[in-house]
Symmetry: C2
Subunit: 239 residues, 2 copies
């Protein structure tokens, strides 16, 4: 039996509404008091809880308020991680066309989500140009992020991939207002390796090497960026 109170005690970053992905549609709508039909605020999930199973019918977009989730597919019983989502991120644009979830979603830590009901949202955007523009922009940005990720995968070696991964985490938190050089990894080394297409040993070795080079200090799930410029240099594309 899991002790819910104990699990929820661990603190994690949360994103204020102004810095959330859907902020620009969420806040004005909220003021007009019409969003309650569209948005379920602050649903909570425990660490390791499966929020959505691959194949489930698609009903809502999930916006991460605090905590973190991973999305993954299972092929021949093996998990293949598609992405990590941090506070302010929104999950589910791939589901519009399929009407079902293409990936499972699992909480990496205790997580609060705000959930946008798809059908109600689609009705909303008919008469709301701001909401419509926001959704198009979010989807378009999603596509850009994937394009960059594909390039990242196809052009980078292991060290560059991992550096880019850490830079991405830093940038993601920075965008949402947390500019600390100390980052807590919500995911395991196994998850990172899986996501980056490396082995856990390689991830471990590269973290050690970066520590030797005084770029990072690594202690379990906690990493501290010692030289942000060197880290970004490592992550950059090959010339």
């Amino acid at each position: 039996m899991i002790d819910i109170n104990k699990q929820l005690r661990s603190k994690s970053y949360s994103v204020p509404c102004e810095l959330c992905s859907v902020g620009s549609i969420c806040i004005p709508m909220l003021l007009k008091n019409t969003l309650h039909t569209v948005l379920d605020r602050k649903q909570s999930f425990l660490k390791n809880e499966v929020i959505v199973k691959e194949g489930d019918p698609f009903e809502k977009f999930y916006i991460i308020h605090s905590g973190a989730v991973k999305t993954y597919v299972t092929v021949n019983g093996v998990e293949q991680i598609n992405g990590f989502y941090l506070p302010g991120d929104i999950v589910g644009f791939d589901c519009i066309v399929t009407k079902k979830h293409n990936n499972s979603i699992k909480a990496l830590s205790n997580t609060l989500t705000c959930e946008l009901k798809y059908n109600e949202l689609m009705e909303l955007i008919v008469n709301n140009p701001d909401a419509r523009e926001t959704i198009f922009n979010l989807m378009s940005q999603d596509i850009i992020n994937y394009q960059k990720l594909v390039l990242s995968y196809s052009q980078k070696n292991a060290e560059e991939k991992l550096a880019a991964f850490v830079c991405g985490l830093y940038t993601q938190y920075a965008k949402r207002g947390h500019t600390s050089l100390n980052i807590k990894l919500s995911m395991s080394r196994t998850d990172i390796a899986n996501y980056l297409g490396l082995t856990i040993e390689t991830v471990s070795r590269i973290f050690s090497r970066m520590q030797d080079l005084n770029i990072l200090a690594v202690k379990g799930k906690y990493i501290s960026i010692k030289s942000i410029s060197a880290l970004f240099d490592l992550a950059a594309e090959k010339n």
Copy 2:
């Protein structure tokens, strides 16, 4: 001086309107005779012609009618290919949020495009639920394709990547009604290698190996699939 007539002589697949990505909005609109404000039909480009330069202002989506294009970014003078687009494909959803082109677009062979004006399209979808749904579905599908590509990159070895690439070409043509096992590669080995994150030598060697295994017959730009099932097996995710 390029001999236009000669260049245009080479034949290539074209997609009938019913099988085009935007068919469901294009055809009915065309019947109601309102699409002429949105769609420029059959613009032609020569092989190697740059259709769009990275950074150009975003005005139109490009739908490939016949021929093929590649999209790429240039980093430190080096081209990094983002994707290949074949008849029926649509290019440009990443540009909605940036309002400019994030990638250059270049014709790989003589190419005809139908071009959808963005501003006019956005006005159209306000009052046209079918068009709106089509655009959302296309963008959502784009995201799914990128998700699969990312998995493909992170989980596959060189042989599996190339097999998946050829399967992708076959599937793409099949979806548009061309089920031939003979495929003409519009792109060079260099382009394929760049796109898959491999070297040209590795691509060449793997094509040779697949030929030895009687999976493909390779002759320059022409490949003939000898065993579609073996090819799909090779392309499959690792177990």
